[in-house]
């Protein structure tokens, strides 16, 4: 943070970044490539069958699948849910140790070494975006070499969640101004891995970025809009060919 060249004042928005994501549900096939990519990029612990049985899966992005309709007209609806990086985040004021707060780039950041694990943030997140390390994460010897050195490995007792691959953001934007970073120059792991390009990431302070344009699409909606959390992740509604 100390090396940033961005202006300190959050009011000078035209110079600052505002990271945002748009997810097009019409394109999403539910393949979960984003989930796998996120796991490898961010050192998310490996979820064995026991994790699923115990309900302690650690997923920074997850696919929710809902069934709609009756047989034989059943449809599967997918929605990838990740931390929405809400501008009015309910998880932020309740942390007693400031382990989660909103930075001036619009991200909700999680500071692992401050977290004492009270889990109030997890209770207050309506998107269930936060995961807790109930056990000490263990990687088999062979897999330890594939851990990303840019990302902390969390210990037991710590909350974690999507950071919009803040390590990639830092790497790309270090010592650069927004003008020097073209739209699409880098992406979080999930966006990069998506085979159908359902996910778009970018700086919504830049009116020319794809994200800024897609955010205004007529199919746009945000999850749980009425709660007033003001998420930075916008979804585009799926359109059924038979008009549903």
């Amino acid at each position: 943070m100390a090396t940033q060249t961005q202006p300190q004042s959050a009011t000078d928005r035209s110079e600052a970044f505002r990271w945002s994501m748009v997810i097009d549900l019409d394109r999403c096939t539910g393949c979960e490539a984003c989930v796998v990519a996120c796991q490898s990029e961010n050192n998310v612990p490996i979820n064995l069958q026991s994790a699923y049985d115990q309900g302690r899966v650690l997923e920074w992005i997850r696919l929710e699948r809902y069934w709609e309709g009756d047989f034989p007209n059943i449809k599967a609806r997918f929605i990838p849910v990740l931390c929405q990086h809400c501008d009015n985040a309910p998880c932020e004021p309740v942390c007693p140790v400031y382990a989660t707060y909103h930075n001036n780039e619009g991200l909700n950041v999680q500071v692992y070494n401050r977290c004492v694990g009270t889990r109030y943030c997890g209770n207050n997140c309506p998107y269930h975006a936060r995961s807790f390390n109930y056990w000490e994460p263990v990687w088999p010897e062979e897999l330890r070499h594939q851990l990303n050195p840019d990302v902390t490995v969390r210990t037991r007792g710590v909350m974690e969640k999507c950071s919009m691959c803040v390590q990639r953001i830092r790497r790309a934007t270090r010592s650069k101004t927004p003008a020097q970073i073209p739209d699409g120059a880098f992406d979080p792991a999930c966006v990069q891995a998506c085979p159908t390009s359902a996910m778009t990431f970018g700086n919504s302070n830049n009116p020319e970025s794809r994200v800024s344009k897609l955010r205004e699409d007529e199919r746009r909606f945000r999850v749980f809009e009425s709660l007033g959390t003001d998420p930075n992740v916008v979804y585009l509604k799926q359109v059924d060919t038979n008009g549903a």
């Binding site: 009015n88 309910p90 004021p93 009425s226 709660l227 007033g228």
Partner: protein, 458 residues
């Protein structure tokens, strides 16, 4: 301890007290009738204001005209009609110092008649339950919320009156025996219902007083719940304020204590009742007054912090209406009069243990209470569309018109008028309660001083 440490406390006998009260009862005071006429005039002015408002109808467009009537209704419910709670509650708690003013509390039950009358136009001013929230679960028929309200409120008023009639019986018997041939004596004979003071009658009286008191105590929060739910919460889009009825009850208790103090003070000053309403009564009531003032803040804060913290859109709009924007000034005034003022004043021993201290604070509380009720109900009635999800637009604060002011003044005067009239019939100091209390005390020397011994007859 004896409050003047160097004097020997002395008490009159219960016979002396009975004689004194009956003498006051019998005398006719011109000043009394003068006040009655003034109050009656103000009450008629209130009716005029009501009729003026009536011309504007009860429809959707004119709902905001009725806010002040409903606010007055709620204020009267929370002061005059809350008085019997004090009588019942203090009797349950076996506080001896309540005896001189307990009849004031019970006599106030008569104001239920006027309050009940005011309920009718208030109910008519409410929109039907379709399309908006209510406790009546979508029953659109007028029977549901209008009938239900009338029934529950009516029961409350009836229980209050029954309590009054019951506990007045021994005193009416005293009046009957004291002045049998006067008009009041004849009415007293009927009201005494054959009271002779036998053991069985006393037992019935005591258990009946406790029972009716308990019913009143149980029913009152129900009435406040209906008042809040139907007249406030049902009109404010998106409000989910479960504590509001409890807040109303606590504020009502504060109002009841305050009104008791003010009434006692006025009776001391203008009625010559100093020997009945002494420092003990004022001091003992000042402590619950302080407690209820602190609780006023506590209940308000509980509601505020829940709404304010989450920054949710629906709740933020409601906060803007009730606290932060439209009705901020009434809230500030009420905040000061109902909380800051009482806290800062009543913390000091000399202020609590005086006659003027609690009275001044109580007067402020009554004014602040009225303003608070205006804030609750005028705001709710000025909302255009109760069926919205989120309040929009936020109505601005609504000042009273002349008719509104007349209605408020008329309502309050009407209740005072009823109280004064009933106190001409039923002795305003309870002969038997005070007498009972006097028979249970004695004075003795204790550790070098004089102290009072109070017998516990339970």
């Amino acid at each position: 301890m004896a409050l003047d440490e160097h004097a020997i406390p002395s008490f009159p006998t219960h016979q002396e007290v009975a004689k004194d009260i009956l003498e006051r009862y019998q005398t006719v005071d011109q000043r009394y009738w003068r006040w009655i006429s003034v109050l009656a005039l103000l009450f008629v002015a209130g009716i005029v204001g009501f009729v003026l408002r009536l011309n504007e109808g009860f429809g959707e467009e004119s709902r905001s005209n009725w806010g002040y009537l409903v606010a007055t209704l709620s204020f009267l419910l929370s002061t005059f009609l809350a008085m019997p709670i004090l009588s019942a509650g203090l009797r349950l708690a076996k506080a001896n110092w309540r005896r001189p003013f307990t009849r004031i509390n019970e006599n106030m039950a008569i104001t239920g008649l006027l309050v009940y009358l005011m309920l009718i136009p208030a109910l008519l001013a409410l929109p039907a339950t379709e399309g908006r929230l209510s406790v009546w679960f979508d029953f659109p028929h007028w029977m549901a919320f209008k009938g239900g309200n009338l029934m529950v409120w009516g029961t409350l008023v009836l229980i209050g009156l029954s309590l009054l009639l019951l506990v007045a019986a021994p005193d009416m018997a005293a009046v009957r025996d004291h002045m049998p041939n006067s008009r009041r004596g004849k009415i007293a004979r009927i009201m005494a219902a054959g009271w002779v003071g036998s053991t069985r009658q006393w037992r019935v009286l005591h258990s009946g007083a406790l029972l009716f008191g308990a019913f009143y105590l149980l029913l009152y929060p129900t009435v406040q719940t209906l008042m809040q739910a139907d007249f406030q919460a049902g009109l404010l889009p998106g409000i989910k304020d479960a504590i509001a009825p409890a807040t109303a009850v606590i504020n009502a208790l504060q109002g009841a204590v305050a009104l008791t103090l003010v009434t006692m003070y006025i009776m001391r000053r203008f009625g010559g009742y100093e020997r009945y309403f002494g420092i003990d009564q004022f001091w003992s009531l000042a402590k619950p007054l302080l407690a209820f003032s602190l609780l006023w803040f506590y209940f308000w804060w509980a509601s505020f912090i829940t709404f304010w913290y989450g920054r949710q859109p629906g709740e933020s709009e409601l906060l803007k209406l009730l606290i932060l924007d439209s009705y901020r000034n009434p809230l500030m005034i009420s905040f000061f009069l109902n909380f800051i003022g009482p806290l800062v004043a009543l913390i000091w021993n000399p202020v609590r243990k005086s006659i003027w201290g609690p009275t001044l604070v109580a007067a402020g509380i009554l004014v602040g209470g009225l303003i608070n009720h205006i804030r609750w109900y005028v705001s709710a009635f000025s909302v255009e569309d109760p069926g919205q999800h989120v309040l929009s637009p936020i109505p601005a604060g609504q000042l009273p018109t002349a008719s509104d002011a007349l209605i408020v003044v008329g309502g309050i005067s009407g209740c005072i008028l009823l109280f004064m009239l009933i106190s001409k019939l039923i002795p305003v100091i309870s002969i038997w309660e005070v007498g009972e209390g006097l028979r249970l005390v004695k004075v003795r020397k204790f550790l070098g001083r004089y102290a009072i011994v109070i017998a516990k007859s339970h």
